[in-house]
């Protein structure tokens, strides 16, 4: 039964992906707003219709590839590790995929909003699937409330555009939005950034993300982190680039700064996490930040009059969107296997899993290297493109832009360095050395389809790292749709072709040649190691300074590992340390203090400082409003009458709607 449901999901994803590739390669003319028969309402604002233009098709492809691999992995995952209401989970999973697809191909404002809301609601039910845990219930509530705040902003942005241009068709809005006043455009931009930024997990609107993603079953986490948050990126690109056709520099700088903040805050909090899935969730915040940096840079460069450089930055953003969808899905599936087999997500209780689940360990390691932006994996390629678009600001002749971009490049480099730090910790503590608990020592090998799903994704991470021209070719039509130009020649489908560089710089990067050099070097070492008499190989205990039996308690812990970073950024983390001390009898020396218990906790400071006032404000206003609720029926009738009178007066004096 599960096999059939998820198999169907996989088949659906593959079909959608094929259709997307056809549109991206220009094999079919993208249908402009095919209306759904019988569902076209009388008013243009309420019409339903589908369209798949190149931008839609790119996100359909992102969804389809990760969706297919996650569906494959879900067969084994749900069968083995989910113990309640598997059928409901499977049905909701498919519904979730459908709502994601609808968001991508919605051709009218109304359908987009319906699909958007459906996506939020279905994913809410998936987040609270394990509703016996209070954590999941509370995470679900946080998610639901913040998502609806964001949905309100999305509503304002899209309905605002729709009313201002007098049409509900997205394609018609795009042609009518050119004549809007700057105030309307700025208003729409701010609303879109808040609404879509929240869904994407942009700092400081990200607080729902590290709560909701870990609480869901891991295949759902993979879909949420890998694909759903990309819908925020899709919405932002749709509104800013396709509907409004780009904007002034300050839009770009705003997105760039929020992106940089997201990247840095995301990775720093990821380092402080000991819960494997929370750690991955914070890395989603980080990667969304990187994508946003690309989008922001492209808006700035376009506004300065450099469409070719804007295309480079946008290519970095699009590629990173796809890359992140691949490796984050992979990492969440791997974390799901580890957590499912051991019953814990706590890094301090894992360890040694490389021997219990070698396939998952290998694919998780490849995913970790990809997300840490190491060559020859796909994450490095998109970050290289982004570094390059930031560097290319030197040719704009605007010192402010050049300095800001150089600073952004430093932030990006710090982020990727810290990501590598974090993933050495995550993989090393969870998968290497001795198991830190009984559960980790006796973990069962995960089901084959789960390993196969991660294997497919790991293979794609490597493929797009060695031959990124494949992805760049597919992104070429969306790029043309948005910034009016693509990356130009050099994007042929050759395996070792160089990445294109704008004509103003002469830098090049041939990922295929780098991969070839790496391969040749390893082969060379192998040949060298054949020469001479091969020395003996012995297996002994690890060096433990002479203590006879090293145990798992002597291993470095996740907390100890991340201490170097949490310490230099302690102003930022404000960790709560809890040390219980016992001083040795008859002495006051600190040296002889025995630390009995040490616990450290780092809470997201944005949660209390930003959201508590909002929550308190709501509660206060609710209390005040409740004074109106007298419970007497004539009072309510009076309210209604008063409202009616006020609305009529508003209509009379503010202006009557034109017929």
């Amino acid at each position: 039964m599960l096999r059939a449901t998820f198999g169907l999901a996989m088949a659906g994803c593959l079909l959608a992906g094929l259709q997307g590739v056809e549109v991206l390669l220009g094999a079919v003319v993208p249908a402009q707003a095919v209306s759904i028969p019988g569902a076209v309402a009388a008013t243009p604002l309420l019409s339903l219709g589908l369209q798949e233009d190149p931008l839609s098709a790119f996100f359909v492809l992102v969804l389809a590839v990760s969706g297919a691999a996650i569906s494959l992995a879900s067969i084994g995952y749900v069968d083995r590790y989910v113990h309640s209401r598997e059928a409901a989970l499977a049905a909701l999973f498919n519904l979730f995929l459908l709502s994601l697809l609808l968001v991508c191909v919605a051709g009218t404002v109304f359908l987009f909003l319906v699909a958007w809301e459906g996506m939020t609601l279905v994913s809410y039910f998936l987040v609270v699937h394990e509703d016996h845990s209070a954590e999941a219930r509370s995470a679900g509530l946080t998610y639901l409330v913040i998502s609806h705040g964001a949905a309100a902003a999305v509503l304002v942005a899209l309905l605002g555009l729709s009313v201002a241009t007098g049409t509900g068709q997205l394609s018609a809005i795009a042609s009518g939005a050119g004549g809007l006043s700057p105030w309307v455009r700025d208003g729409v931009f701010v609303a879109a950034l808040v609404g879509f930024g929240t869904k994407a997990g942009m700092v400081p609107l990200h607080v729902w993300l590290p709560e909701a993603h870990p609480a869901a079953p891991s295949n759902v986490s993979a879909l949420m982190s890998g694909v759903m948050i990309k819908m925020g990126i899709y919405g932002l690109l749709r509104v800013v680039w396709v509907l409004l056709g780009g904007g002034p520099s300050w839009w770009g700088y705003t997105i760039l700064l929020f992106g940089a903040a997201s990247a840095l805050v995301g990775v720093l909090y990821a380092i402080a996490q000991h819960d494997l899935k929370r750690l991955l969730a914070y890395h989603s915040v980080e990667n969304i930040g990187i994508i946003l940096m690309g989008i922001g840079a492209s808006i700035v460069l376009f506004d300065l009059g450099y469409p070719a450089l804007a295309a480079l930055a946008m290519a970095a953003a699009l590629l990173h969107t796809w890359n992140h969808a691949l490796f984050k899905s992979l990492l969440f599936l791997g974390a799901g296997a580890a957590a499912g087999a051991t019953g814990t997500r706590d890094l301090e209780k894992l360890g040694g899993l490389v021997r219990r689940m070698p396939g998952i360990a290998l694919t998780f390691l490849l995913g970790a290297m990809a997300i840490s932006a190491l060559p020859p994996f796909n994450g490095f390629v998109s970050e290289w493109l982004l570094f390059h678009s930031l560097f290319s600001a030197f040719s704009t002749g605007s010192p402010a832009t050049e300095l800001v971009f150089a600073g952004m490049a430093a932030v990006l480099a710090l982020t990727s360095g810290l990501a590598a730090y974090c993933f050495v910790k995550a993989f090393g503590i969870a998968f290497l050395a001795r198991p830190r608990s009984e559960a980790a020592a006796t973990a069962q090998a995960p089901p084959g389809t789960l390993t196969a799903g991660t294997g497919v994704l790991a293979g794609l991470c490597l493929l797009l790292g060695i031959a990124p021209a494949l992805a760049i070719n597919l992104a070429s039509r969306p790029l043309t749709q948005m910034v009016g130009t693509s990356l130009g020649p050099g994007t042929s489908l050759s395996l070792i072709s160089s990445l294109p560089a704008p004509s103003t710089t002469s830098a090049g990067f041939a990922p295929g040649i780098i991969a070839l050099l790496l391969g040749l070097a390893i082969a060379g070492i192998w040949v060298a190691s054949r020469f001479g008499v091969a020395p003996k190989v012995r297996v002994e205990r690890s060096w433990d300074c002479g203590i006879d039996a090293p145990t798992a308690r002597m291993e470095y812990t996740a907390g100890g590992y991340s201490q170097a970073v949490t310490r230099i950024f302690q102003e930022f983390f404000r960790p709560k340390e809890d040390v219980e001390r016992t001083v040795a009898a008859g002495t006051r020396w600190d040296l002889l203090t025995r630390v009995r218990r040490f616990s450290e906790e780092s809470v997201d400071p944005l949660l209390p400082s930003l959201y508590r006032p909002i929550r308190d404000g709501f509660l206060w206003s609710a209390r005040e409003v409740s004074r109106l609720q007298s419970g007497r029926i004539h009072a309510y009738l009076a309210y209604m009458f008063a409202t009616l009178v006020v609305l009529l007066l508003v209509l009379r004096f503010v202006g009557s709607p034109s017929p």
Binding site: A406, I513, A521, S542, D544, M554
Partner: protein, 320 residues
Amino acid sequence: MTSSLEAIALLAVEYLLVLGLAPILLGIIRRVKARSQRREGPSLLQPYRDLAKLWRKESVYSDTSSWVTRAAPWVSFAALLAAIPLVPWFVLPTPFSGAGDLIVLVGLLALSRFVIALAALDAGSTFGGMGSSREMWMGSLSEPIFLLVIFAFGAPAGSTQAGTIAAHGVAAGWGYVSAPLLLAVVAYVGLLLVETGRLPVDNPSTHLELTMVHEAMVLEYSGRDLALIEWGQGVKLAVLTGLLIALAVPWGISSSLGIAVIALALALLVAKLAGASALIGGLESRIAKWRLFRVADLTTFAAVLALGAIAFHYLIAAGA
């Protein structure tokens, strides 16, 4: 333009040169340090003897370790080997210069560090974890400086390709020397000390538990794996020093393929590398090891210098 056959021949010379010279650079540094301490010091060739000895010795692996421990030295060394063609050594244009720019070089160094840091956790000993955490921490602090330094060197030449920057320097002659360049060079030297684990950041000759960083990471390695790691340290030093030479004092790199010119360029390169190693050794003799968290001060200082270099460059460019 060089033909592909010539390019392959030049590449082979580069590999022979860097792989062959890497140990002696370590030897020079040790010798200079020994002499400044009024010791005779080991022979310059001692690192070669050490490598040959390790190559013949048996390998001992921890019983808790996995394939990660076995694969890491190979991948780490391979990443350093892949970085060699990205540096302009003695001829311009660099053979295979399209393979990658300095950002790719940063990526390859990160790959080399990443796998060894993972292997350090594999044996489950406290030393490994401590070294791994410290090394990755320093690496994450040095990466932004590397990028800023690349921007600082690259902005005047309009490229992140080391060969193009060096060619720009050779063409500009004395005009290449400027305040931004000097700032960038100082920032790069700070970066070099962090990346190669020299004093005051890390002491490569210590085996004291609390102070070692790199040595703690590779404590479990022996035999051929250790030989690869130590040789790799030499190659990394050679690559980063060679890059400093190409970016800061590029004069002398040959622009044509005549035998005499190439021979002269090679001789100059060897002299520059030896001189740079002696300078590192001299610098090391004069600084004590800093406590670990002061490394963040060093990296912040270098970052400010590099940003200053970029700002100066743009201000000068805007004023001109």
